[in-house]
Point group: C2
Chain length 269, copies 2
């Protein structure tokens, strides 16, 4: 267990940091913080406004502000801050300036809509967790596979189950769990599957509009194309009614290409 | 070669899209577009303003605008657009709306400053390339390992060498080359090394200031901590005077953890 972090044996009560990318007023973060109630000291640090699709963006050219924010979970009021910044900014600022001590676990979400397949790289929900793993803190990102509305009850129960297990066992250093929960009642969920990201892409389309001065502007939209829905993928698990857990890291090296490319020759360098 | 893209055998002149994250007026993109001169039809689509550290951000909540921009390389004027958006937006918009046909190669940079180790996930330069690989187009991101000023001559020559090789051989589908060029004259560069991302982190620090109303705001800064400078890493190669090429993909799955985690037990799901 030398490489694992956050494992059993801590004397003090765990500190759990809750973040998201839908903004501090979103129903998913209330469900997530509430589902952590009783597992430790819960703190919320989240963006003021929705930050979807910001990817792993951080704010370097503008200053960051944080304001205390009223936040109540079943057991009572907890400390919460709304941040003018991205999810990654929130995690950095929380750990460096706002929290009384280093967190034992960072949970992010519960995102409205899935974060699976290629979308993981665009996801602010995931990037909050990634930021934690860079700082060697175990992290879990939760997404509810429904784009609008719905009920976070089942997702909250699943979030608590997985958080309990991670607080107990720890995670290997640098690993984030990316969890997607199907839009089903808790009793209808078939179980939990450990998965890999499905291969997929977006078929882009830009909707062109004209402003009153006849200048074009474009709205990005597109259609998601799943290229790979085998059972061992995140998309496959979700489609079959399973909670998908994909262990994710932030090493982007394509290790299988390193050896192959060493045989390439270059002109004179 | 069934899995490779952009390989030899194309009849028509290659189309090369040039993007960056430092903005269309930066010296690095002029050096990069100029270094591609003669290799194909060169088009530039790049952000209006600096977009450093935007990560893989895309613009969904605002419309995107593009304006033609005067751009001249040694052989003459080329078509260029300045985009109010992120590097990933630029690549999507270029391919879907601005270019006369699908690019055969997307090159990004030349970034002012390195993009190595953990910084790859924050890099807008890399994200432009990643966006291309998601669309199955070979891509190369170039960074010049000097934070301010300097001379892009050696970097431009290296960029051309690597682009020639990739246009000739293709790249495996989904692979981006992340290239970092040391701040040395061309003749002093020791060669090219195929590397992996070094493990590293930032030791964050936030500088706190007060506004005239006595409210705090924070500037994110920090110190880079290299945890791993072995010879086979990007940082190791750069430090030793080699051009570093790291093959990068966008599958964030920690595959070595998938099997291990399948042995975990969960309460009742």
């Amino acid at each position: 267990m030398a490489m694992s972090v956050g494992s059993r044996g801590q004397k003090k009560r765990p500190l759990i940091l809750v973040c998201n990318d839908d903004g501090i007023g979103a129903p998913g973060i209330l469900a997530l913080a509430s589902s952590m109630d009783g597992l430790g000291d819960i703190f919320v640090v989240a963006p003021v406004t929705e930050q979807s699709a910001v990817g792993h963006s951080i704010t370097l050219r503008d200053p960051i502000r944080a304001f205390t924010f009223p936040f109540r979970i079943p057991s009572g009021s907890i400390d919460a801050w709304a941040v003018h910044g991205t999810p990654a900014d929130c995690v950095k600022l929380a750990i460096e300036k706002l929290l009384p001590r280093q967190p034992d676990l960072v949970v992010s979400g519960i995102n409205q809509g899935p974060n699976a397949a290629v979308n993981v790289i665009y996801s602010g929900t995931v990037s909050a967790g990634t930021e934690a793993t860079i700082l060697n803190i175990p992290a879990i990102a939760f997404s509810y596979c429904r784009w609008v509305g719905g009920d976070y009850e089942a997702s909250g129960r699943i979030a608590r189950q997985i958080a309990v297990r991670v607080l107990d066992r720890g995670l290997r250093s640098g690993i984030l769990l990316n969890v997607n929960i199907p839009d089903l009642p808790f009793a209808a969920l078939k179980g939990i599957k450990i998965t890999r990201q499905a291969r997929s892409k977006w078929k882009e389309s830009f909707t062109e509009r004209k402003d009153p001065y006849n200048r074009s502007y474009y709205w990005l939209s597109g259609t998601f194309v799943n290229l790979d829905s085998r059972d061992d993928t995140d998309l496959g698990a979700i489609e079959n009614g399973y909670v998908s857990i994909t262990p994710v890291h932030h090493d982007l090296t394509a290790h299988d290409q390193v050896d192959e490319m060493r045989s390439w020759t270059w002109d004179d360098k």
